[in-house]
């Protein structure tokens, strides 16, 4: 992990890894979608229950990415690992999109199932708050220009947020709940085995999708920084050239 702190090494390593990641993601996603459309329909909701296969993995990722982000920030904070900070920075928008996807699929599902687009139900509200927390975190990286400083401040935001997530979950559940209780628990689950297979494959596919996207966006950021560094160097050379030309003309 610490060898990868060097951007050049990371670029080489990730360019080797990336094709495999893309292939695994596409394969899992294809297999998962095939399994989803072969899984039995829900007795009550019919085909509608297939939203679950997008909704649940997004919800899991939205939360897991926040934890990942905070851990990456800690790594950057403690060991001054520059790529860890970059990983945290680039994981945030992806996490925000998954939180948004959870909200949208939840609303699409809520309209036919509950008869309304939005209910102030505990879990929906918790995801909404999580989405706002992602926005706040992204805003930190946007408004603080110095990236080293932004990384340190972002770590504090992520840490406070991490403490806050369970408190929010507890309080909104206290406040209101009409969602069905979690059906994927460690002690046996209450859904059909074929549905479970499809769901688990989708979980794996989404996780790999996140990893692939994260690798791509970190690579993009490194490339962008290098491009900017090159631009600055060309600019400096041009200025030096103009200066010397001016000096020459003065001498003449």
């Amino acid at each position: 992990m610490f060898g990868l702190a060097n951007p050049t090494k990371f670029m080489r390593f990730s360019s080797l890894l990336l094709p495999y990641l893309v292939i695994i993601t596409l394969g899992l996603l294809g297999f998962g979608l095939y399994a989803v459309f072969n899984a039995p329909e829900d007795v009550l909701q019919g085909s509608l229950s297939r939203i679950l296969y997008v909704h649940a993995p997004s919800a899991y990722l939205a939360q897991a990415i926040y934890v990942f982000m905070a851990l990456a920030n800690f790594t950057g904070f403690i060991w001054r690992h520059p790529l860890a900070d970059m990983a945290a920075k680039n994981a945030a928008p992806i996490g925000a999109v998954f939180a948004l996807l959870t909200l949208i699929t939840g609303m699409l599902w809520g309209k036919p199932a509950w008869g309304t687009w939005w209910v102030w139900d505990a879990r929906l509200t918790a995801v909404l708050v999580l989405f706002i927390m992602y926005l706040g975190y992204i805003a930190i990286w946007q408004v603080i220009e110095d990236q080293v400083k932004a990384a340190r401040v972002a770590t504090i935001v992520a840490a406070v947020g991490l403490i806050n997530i369970p408190i929010i979950k507890f309080s909104v559940e206290w406040w209101n709940t009409l969602h069905q209780p979690a059906s994927l628990t460690t002690s046996g689950s209450s859904i059909h085995p074929t549905m479970l297979t499809a769901l688990l494959v989708m979980f794996a596919a989404f996780t790999f999708m996140f990893t692939t996207l994260l690798f791509i966006s970190v690579r993009t950021e490194i490339t962008r920084r290098r491009a900017r560094a090159l631009e600055m160097r060309i600019l400096q050379q041009n200025i030096a050239k103009t200066n010397s030309a001016l000096k020459n003309s003065e001498a003449e």
């Binding site: 805003a139 408004v143 909104v172």
Partner: protein, 221 residues
């Protein structure tokens, strides 16, 4: 202990004498509460039912909007750096500034709350629970506002972003503040459960805020 008390006195004096400090928050609190009946209609029973929630939300917003002021003036004249590097632990300095902020912003709001509660037709016997819960909750709100203020201390006009950052942190206090107040007002079974949780969240915030703010200020200055 002595320098901390001196700092507390200095901060409170500065807040009340520099003008616009507590007045701004009180003005906001007053205006929004007065506007509310115009928005939802003058029905006394409806106002009574929503009064606890409205008072809490507006208190929360008033504290949120004054968050920027906690460190802004001291940063501008350079005294913040001095306070954090010389003398007592930075965490203690921040704790004192937080308490000073509570005294100068939240306390005046609490003092005018009884009048506004009457105007919103707060249910009988609701005033004392409201004041108790609000004094506890507002301390937690001030603590969380301190985190937001320290994170964005070097950013100009940071108020919008502070709202975005702090809003998620405020939700638990709002939920348990309102539920503690109404539990005690309506004398439900076990009326103090929510109050104890509110107290717990406030204490957690008071512990986390100085450490998080000290780190954030260190990164920012």
């Amino acid at each position: 202990m002595k320098p901390l008390l001196a700092l507390l006195r200095r901060d409170i004096n500065l807040f009340f004498r520099s003008g616009g400090g507590a007045g701004q928050a009180i003005g906001f609190y007053l205006v929004v509460i007065i506007l509310f009946p115009f928005g939802v209609g003058p029905d006394i029973n409806l106002l009574a039912r929503i009064s606890i929630g409205v008072l809490w939300v507006v208190l929360l917003l008033a504290i949120l909007l004054s968050a920027e002021r906690i460190f802004a003036d001291d940063l501008e004249d350079g005294s913040l750096t001095l306070l954090l590097t010389a003398g007592p632990l930075p965490e203690l300095v921040i704790l004192v500034k937080l308490i000073a902020h509570w005294v100068s912003i939240a306390l005046p709001l609490l003092l005018i709350t009884p009048f506004l509660a009457l105007m919103l037709n707060l249910p009988a016997g609701g005033l004392i629970p409201l004041i108790i819960c609000m004094s506890i909750g507002s301390l937690g709100l001030c603590a969380l506002a301190t985190i937001g203020a320290s994170i964005l201390v070097s950013i100009r006009r940071a108020n919008q972003i502070i709202s975005l950052l702090i809003l998620p942190l405020y939700i638990p206090i709002l939920i348990f503040g309102v539920s503690a107040t109404s539990d005690m007002t309506y004398q439900v079974e076990k009326p103090y459960t929510s109050l104890l949780i509110l107290l717990g969240i406030t204490l957690i915030s008071l512990i986390i805020a100085p450490f998080a703010s000290a780190q954030a200020l260190k990164a920012n200055l």
